[in-house]
Symmetry: C2
């Protein structure tokens, strides 16, 4: 027998769905309008910018960007065409590819990040108390661990 959602669960589920969809859509619109880039692509650049040598293996980048290999491959192809990312063969492994953030990509991030952070703050963190921020972080960490157990555990 199916165990249906109780009232609290129902409410939480609908609020969560609405929040993630509307929040994501709002951020996507802001980035698209101000920088002509998708939120998904922005994250790809952001993850590269934090990595040593501003470069990452495609598979590692895919994990950090919550992306499937295929999606990342297409996204990096588009970013490469715009001159923001470059691809090189991976050393030590002939199968691999490393994506590298170019100077133009770095510059574009530097120009775009302030507006984006402001939007995130406005829509999300300005609404919440520090306790709620920590609680939300904990809850998501728990759920994440159930979705993909090797995620948090890995040394990074």
């Amino acid at each position: 027998m199916t165990r249906w959602l109780d009232e609290d669960e129902q409410r939480t589920w609908r609020n969560f769905l609405a929040t993630s969809e509307l929040l994501y859509a709002a951020l996507d619109r802001q980035l698209q309008r101000d920088a002509g880039i998708t939120h998904a692509s922005y994250i790809v650049l952001a993850m590269l910018s934090e990595a040593p040598d501003r470069s990452l293996r495609m598979s590692d980048l895919a994990v950090k960007a919550n992306s499937s290999p295929s999606r990342l491959s297409h996204a990096v192809a588009r970013l490469e065409a715009r001159g923001w990312v470059r691809r090189e063969p991976a050393p030590q492994d002939g199968r691999g590819t490393v994506a590298v953030l170019t100077d133009a990509g770095w510059q574009m991030l530097a120009d775009t990040a302030p507006g984006h952070v402001t939007a995130v703050r406005e829509h999300l963190f300005d609404q919440l108390t520090p306790e709620q921020v920590r609680a939300l972080g904990d809850i998501c960490a728990t759920v994440l661990d159930g979705l993909d157990p090797n995620r948090v555990a890995r040394p990074c």
Copy 2:
């Protein structure tokens, strides 16, 4: 000057993003595999199934499904082609359209809902305590209210 995210905010933001993306992707895959339907389309059917006469004006349905008018229009067109939804002109307003869930659509929901609820429970609610469920609901309600103030307030 941009106020960057502090450590707690950073962590929460990344966990939230990863959670919503991976959770959504998992549910989408489950529905696609078991029922050949997108999560977004499933929600459209689910919202119709709860409405009086199993029918809603397109604009009301769009709000309930967190969808833009255009997205909903396309989605309903696809659902109509599959025989799960029917469109009728709205009474009293020649501009309007009401979407109606057909018997076939109702049946398809009845077949699909158990598996979907099980997946939601497994990925989300089985991981959380009742207190966390309520806390998450409250946090999302707060954020939602900031994103779209007329949302909660409306009498429904």
